[in-house]
């Protein structure tokens, strides 16, 4: 499951959804709004998504992880809109029979989501200005 959410991410509900009888290992990742980035003090973020394509690309990533690793369940949700310090921007969780697959699949999902899913972050700085982030790396 992959979704873009305008509402706060329901971490407890998503974790509950990973439970399965054969799931001996559960690994969850939370990305939260930090109070700094690259040396500048940050007091909030806005995320924008090309929702239709973001959900399609996110679902593709989840299916890739499912085919590469021996997992039970995978969920990932990315927030859009205005976020405050400490808010959860992205959450990914994986359950599996064994921990290596759970760690590897969770890492794969979050790495690929950050590299490929059309979502953009606008940082709001304590000084009052803000800017869209467009990392230098070549698009995949």
């Amino acid at each position: 499951m992959f979704a873009i959410s305008e509402a706060p991410i329901d971490v407890a509900g998503l974790q509950h959804g990973l439970e399965a009888d054969g799931a001996g290992a559960v690994v969850c990742f939370e990305g939260r709004v930090r109070n700094y980035n690259e040396g500048r003090a940050v007091n909030g973020l806005s995320y924008q998504a090309y929702i239709e394509l973001a959900e399609a690309e996110g679902r593709r990533i989840v299916e890739e992880a499912r085919s590469r690793f021996a997992v039970e369940r995978i969920s990932c949700v990315h927030r859009v809109g205005d976020l405050a310090l400490g808010d959860v921007a992205v959450w990914a969780g994986v359950s599996a029979g064994h921990r290596a697959a759970a760690f590897d699949a969770c890492r794969y999902v979050i790495d690929e989501v950050k590299a490929r899913v059309p979502i953009w972050k606008r940082e709001h700085y304590v000084e009052g200005d803000s800017e869209w982030l467009h990392p230098e790396s070549t698009p995949k």
Binding site: E57, P118, W120, W132, H134
Partner: protein, 79 residues
């Protein structure tokens, strides 16, 4: 031909709108981007962008047809 353009993040700021209808002589996405970059002052070179037509990623040689929805996808920064 007529195309529908959606703009995101800094491309939206540069275009001054989130979407627009464009009448253009461009027949592929490369030509369309060159035309729009000139009009709106987009500074991204094509190697830093991906392109999507009708909600799916595609390549820069993609031939356009009437009423295609075209998105130039700037470098992403989710997470």
């Amino acid at each position: 031909m007529n195309y529908r353009l959606l703009y995101f993040a800094s491309l939206c700021d540069a275009a001054g709108c989130a979407e627009e209808q464009v009448a253009s002589g461009a027949r592929d996405v490369s030509a369309l981007y060159a035309e729009l970059a000139a009009r709106h002052g987009f500074t991204f070179t094509p190697d830093r962008l991906r392109v999507a037509v009708n909600g799916a990623f595609t390549d820069w040689n993609h031939r356009l047809v009437e009423n295609d929805e075209v998105v130039f996808v700037p470098p992403v920064s989710g997470g």
